[in-house]
């Protein structure tokens, strides 16, 4: 399968990250952009760029016909989907491969199997991997209620076609389940055009452990250790780290081998993640398999020294995996924070608008995967991710210290960000002790900081800014503001006309 010119069917930080690897590999890149993304960073970084339609992603980034058309026009012979958008869309992959284009990722049949969560669960069970008890048949709401009582609460209600934690809901009682059913079905229908849902027994205080696996066309499989994504808010990972602070070498081997067994059972080719839930006793259960690169991949790259996008391209080309299991290194510890334009003080409402100021941290063993620049306008149509900041240290404590210092250096003006939230997380005692679980942020632990010691500095700068503005206005009264200049123009025009 050739990958000589690569179209990236994505935007933002992940598109930029893929382009960077392609530059190293000397593969020309083709960016696609919607109307509001003409000036986006990925367009600026790519060798070739083509417009694919209006801002809503359904009319642009999700339009497979347009992507295939751009491949024809640009001479691209491969598509990398990044994550989100069409990355796990079976039908999209089928059409792209039928058009003779190399798909950098697992094929359509594999995706179809893994996307149907119930089939994926069966594959995992067949591979000898532990699974959670639950209800996986499509039942009427009334039968679901009866069966749910048999399995026992609490239960996790999930869309069958769901991914990325979207539309999931924890239900603790029959009453909650009855109320949640129509809502979750509504979300599922809206997001995935499939209203089927299933239930799984919910663990108390589970950890979310992702095993990074890779398989090539020659039947080789390796696992690149685990990532812990337990720090979640509404089932969305907020911070990632690798390795997990609680996984012992023996457990790592057991989980890794279980993950590879699932991949082998499925005949998996590509880079993927086998997701597990782990209880307090270190017992782990298969959750699902993610058939694409994940947002947390940078921490795995830190501890293994590998470039996972490079791996994806090599696998897509039909090459053998670059390492055998014995050759995979495990160095130190890495943490990652997802820097979003959102307001933690207003229930994390996304913040769109122009980035007026941006200073990203720099330093030793620090990485900022960003897709924005100062002056860039964030569109409310897309995920409000600014960048993914990751740091490495020889130990977890050192990685966390480095991340904390880096966050202090990170400044964004014009939009709200969750930087202060991340700093609080890194000071949060349970986090520092490595006592993570997926519900750890559910209670109201995040508090807006009280007026701190540096207020005087902040106010001094604002006062000075006011003073300068006032002085400027005093010097040039005519240019007080654009509105005033406009009014003066109108006035003189009016007078002129009356003369």
């Amino acid at each position: 399968m050739p990958v000589t010119k690569l179209l990236i069917a994505n935007r933002g930080d992940i598109a930029c990250r893929i382009i960077r690897t392609c530059r190293e590999l000397d593969i020309p890149t083709v960016a696609v952009y919607s109307d509001s993304d003409r000036g986006a960073m990925h367009v600026r970084l790519a060798v070739l760029s083509y417009p694919i339609g209006p801002t809503p992603s359904r009319e642009s980034y999700l339009r497979v016909d347009k992507l295939i058309d751009v491949c024809r026009k640009s001479g691209a012979d491969a598509i990398h989907p990044g994550y989100g958008f069409i990355s796990e869309d079976t039908e999209a992959v089928r059409r792209i491969t039928e058009a003779g284009i190399t798909w950098v990722g697992p094929g359509a049949e594999l995706l179809a199997k893994m996307n149907a969560k119930i089939t994926a669960r069966e594959i995992a069970a067949k591979a000898g991997c532990p699974v959670l008890p639950g209800i996986h048949e499509t039942l009427s709401d009334e039968d679901v209620m009866t069966e749910a009582r048999k399995v026992g609460f609490p239960l996790m209600l999930k869309p069958v076609a769901g991914r990325d934690g979207k539309g999931m809901r924890l239900v603790k009682s029959p009453g909650e389940l009855r109320r949640a059913l129509p809502r979750v079905k509504g979300d599922a229908l809206f997001s995935f055009w499939d209203e089927r849902v299933y239930l799984e027994k919910a663990l108390t205080h589970p950890r979310h452990i992702d095993l990074q696996v890779a398989g090539d066309r020659h039947g080789n499989y390796v696992y690149l250790w685990e990532r812990e994504g337990s720090v979640q808010r509404r089932f969305q990972q907020v911070a990632d780290e690798a390795p997990s602070p609680v996984v012992t070498p023996a457990l790592r081997k057991a989980m890794g081998e279980a993950a590879v067994a699932v991949a082998r059972e499925a005949g998996y080719v590509g880079l993927g993640t086998v997701e597990f839930l782990m209880d307090a006793d270190g017992k782990f259960y298969f959750l699902e398999m993610t058939c694409r690169i994940q947002g947390g991949h940078a921490v795995t790259e830190w501890i293994t020294g590998q470039d996972l996008v490079r791996w994806q391209i090599q696998i897509a080309r039909g090459e053998k995996l670059p390492l055998t299991q014995k050759q995979v290194p495990l160095w130190g510890h890495a943490v990652q924070c997802r820097i979003n334009a959102e307001d933690p003080d207003r229930d994390f409402a996304p913040s769109s608008g122009r980035i007026l100021y941006l200073r990203t941290p720099a330093g030793h063993r620090l990485r900022d995967d960003n897709g924005v620049y100062p002056g860039w306008e964030l569109s409310p149509f897309y995920a409000p991710l600014l960048s993914k900041l990751s740091a490495w240290g020889p130990t977890r404590a050192e990685a966390v210290e480095r991340m904390h210092a880096a966050l202090s250096e990170y400044r964004v003006g014009g939009v709200r960000t969750n930087i202060a939230f991340h700093k609080s997380l890194l000071e949060y005692k349970p986090y520092l002790r490595g006592e993570l679980h997926t519900g750890m942020l559910d209670h109201a632990w995040w508090k807006q900081k009280k007026v701190g010691a540096n207020l005087k500095f902040a106010v001094a700068a604002a006062l000075f800014d006011e003073l300068e503005l006032e002085e400027r206005r005093a010097q040039q009264p005519a240019e007080k503001d654009e509105g005033a200049a406009g009014r003066i123009a109108w006035n003189s025009l009016g007078k002129f006309n009356r003369l």
Binding site: K166, G167, R183, G186, D187, F190, S191, R346, D347, A349, P350, S352, L356, Y357, R359, P380, S408, E409, R411, V412, G413, G414, A420, K423, K449, V451, G452, N454, L455, K456, F457, A458, V459, A460, A461, A462, L463, F464, D465, E466, L467, E470
Partner: protein, 192 residues
């Protein structure tokens, strides 16, 4: 130049002066000389008492032209405050307007589509009662009443897209003794 600083529920009287090449801030009567240097269009380096702190200033547009909103970010977080010219406006008035707005007006936290309106004008609501569902970021978000109240105006319409901060529903605080009883929130009638 004099300004009144309003941050959270605190107010301070400030003055800034240039004295022979030095800049001095007077904070509630106390003098703080400092050195300031604009390093980037919206970014300053401030040295005060030997401490060097970088401050990035965002001016926040406000409906009231005399109410200058700021968001200033320093290394340990950001501060939201307003600086008001004490000569120009009656501070008390502005604050009264600000207070009335919060709590009684439910506004959109993010842009989205109003899926369902669950209340009618005039209807009493309990604290925490769902009042509408807004679809935003591909999720259905339930908006609940922040207090026991009576529904005043309904600004939103089902199926219509709204911008961030768009008013959705105005809640009128209950008169004292009105059912459902909510003594905490009652007895605070809005002034016209």
């Amino acid at each position: 130049m004099k300004r009144t600083l309003v941050i959270a529920d605190e107010t301070h009287e400030l003055e800034i002066r240039r004295v022979g090449g030095k800049t001095v801030m007077v904070w509630d009567g106390e003098e703080y000389p400092f050195d300031i240097f604009r390093v980037e269009p919206t970014s300053y380096s401030v040295i005060m008492g030997g401490h060097s702190v970088g401050v990035n200033i965002d001016r926040i547009r406000s409906v009231d032209p005399d109410l200058h909103g700021f968001r200033a970010s320093v290394f340990d977080g950001a501060y939201d405050f307003t600086l008001q010219d004490p000569h120009k406006i009656l501070l008390a008035e502005a604050m009264a307007r600000g207070k009335k707005g919060t709590g009684s007006l439910v506004a959109a936290l993010m842009p989205g589509k109003v899926l369902k309106l669950l209340v009618q004008p005039g209807e009493p609501v309990e604290e925490g009662q769902p009042i509408l569902i807004l679809e935003a970021m591909k999720m259905q978000n339930e908006y609940t009443a922040p207090m026991a109240a009576r529904v005043g105006q309904v600004h939103a319409e089902e199926g219509v897209n709204v911008e961030i901060n768009s008013p959705l529903v105005t809640l009128v605080p209950l008169e004292a003794g009105e059912v459902p009883a909510a003594p905490k929130e009652g007895g605070k009638p809005a002034k016209a």
